[in-house]
Amino acid sequence: MDDTEAKTNKAGGRQCSICNQRRAALKRPKTLQQICKECFYAVFEEEIHQVIVDNHLFKPGERIAIGASGGKDSTVLAYVLSELNRRHNYGLNLFLLSVDEGITGYRDDSLETVKRNEVQYGLPLKVVSYKDLYGWTMDEIVKMIGLKNNCTFCGVFRRQALDRGAALLKTDKLATGHNADDIAETILLNILRGDIARLSRCTSITTGEDGPIPRCKPFKYTYEKEIVIYPCSIYSPNAYRGFAREFIKDLERIRPRAILDIIKSGENFRISTSTKMPEQGTCERCGYISSQKWCKACVLLEGLNRGLPKLGIGRTRGLNNGQNKDMDQTNGMKNIHSKECGTLDF
């Protein structure tokens, strides 16, 4: 957003509602304020600072891994966190953490972006690969199981890969680039799926505080629109998201506040204390957090290594509650699971 002073006729010369000096360049979805780009950068960064401070996301001296996919959210997160860390003396040691799924051609661009970020922002980068962590690349998994259920593998493995990478970096926390639109989408999906356990978890700005590596979402209240405008550069495409996301964008057009309203609603869900929630334990095989005997990644790996790749696909109780039932459910769940790439699992 630069070099436009000459051509600002369209906005009818409306002034920025913050500085009252420069011409407005965008309308904030959150507040409907019309502001100039200079004020936008300032409020965008300061709001995130405020979220970090109000929610005690970080403590001085902590080592923080930033989950870096090379996409717009994590790129902006890496930049904003390193900037705020300097400006407000958070005293954090920041690291970039990327996952290489081993999909030919897929991560090449994004890993390049992450490597550029490493140089630009001066943040050390760690790339963990599925091959190193699990002994399988996604290409090898797809060769084995076909294209149908590969999203299940990729989603489960990615989540653990970030935790394992963060453990390798000996970081205290993992920060991810999930934005307000992501969280509103996840809340809707968890309501639609009736997944009460995830619903209560997905609205928390910090999760897993009882586990080894808590995760936090500094962009919880940051609109996607503003993240896209912030660097105002153009990113490489990625997997297309599902219907809930489109619905959220429809809502935003009618009533921009809707995204924050959904987050508010999600936060205020109260689940009856008599509801039996799945207990969080640890996987007997690898020690990762799991509500079942084995964590999802171990169930999936067991299937791959035994040549039964369907094991653990579907809304499973995995090895733990009998496989036959599991197989029956697989078909019914296919539609939801085939969307897993686009949805988020907090």
Binding site: T8, K10, A25, K27, D181, V228, I229, R241, K249
Partner: protein, 99 residues
């Protein structure tokens, strides 16, 4: 009318992976000015080669597609009623992709 159109965030895939298009939009007889409404339908016919539903919904862009006219959010200039002028730069960025 000479315009520069820029597609990003995956939208370029709908127009043969070309991000920047320098175009010349000829006004139809009886039209005196070019609005975004007219431009969008022109783009749909002349620039978008596949899956137009990824770009448009009804007579506007899909929600989630960000539009900047001369680097200014089109929500400030009247969205579909924005009037374009010679050498304007219109940017479309899809936010509907992963991050």
């Amino acid at each position: 009318m000479q315009l520069t159109l820029e597609f990003g965030g995956g939208l370029e895939l709908l127009c043969q992976s070309v991000k920047i298009h320098n175009v010349d939009v000829v006004l139809q007889a009886g039209e005196t000015k070019l609005t975004m409404r007219v431009l969008l339908s022109w783009i749909r016919t002349n620039v978008i080669k596949e899956r137009p539903e990824m770009f448009m919904k009804g007579d506007s862009v899909r929600p989630g597609v960000l539009v900047l006219v001369n680097d200014c959010d089109w929500e400030l200039s009247g969205q579909l009623d924005t009037t374009l002028e010679e050498k304007d730069v219109v940017v479309f960025i899809s936010t509907l992709h992963g991050g």
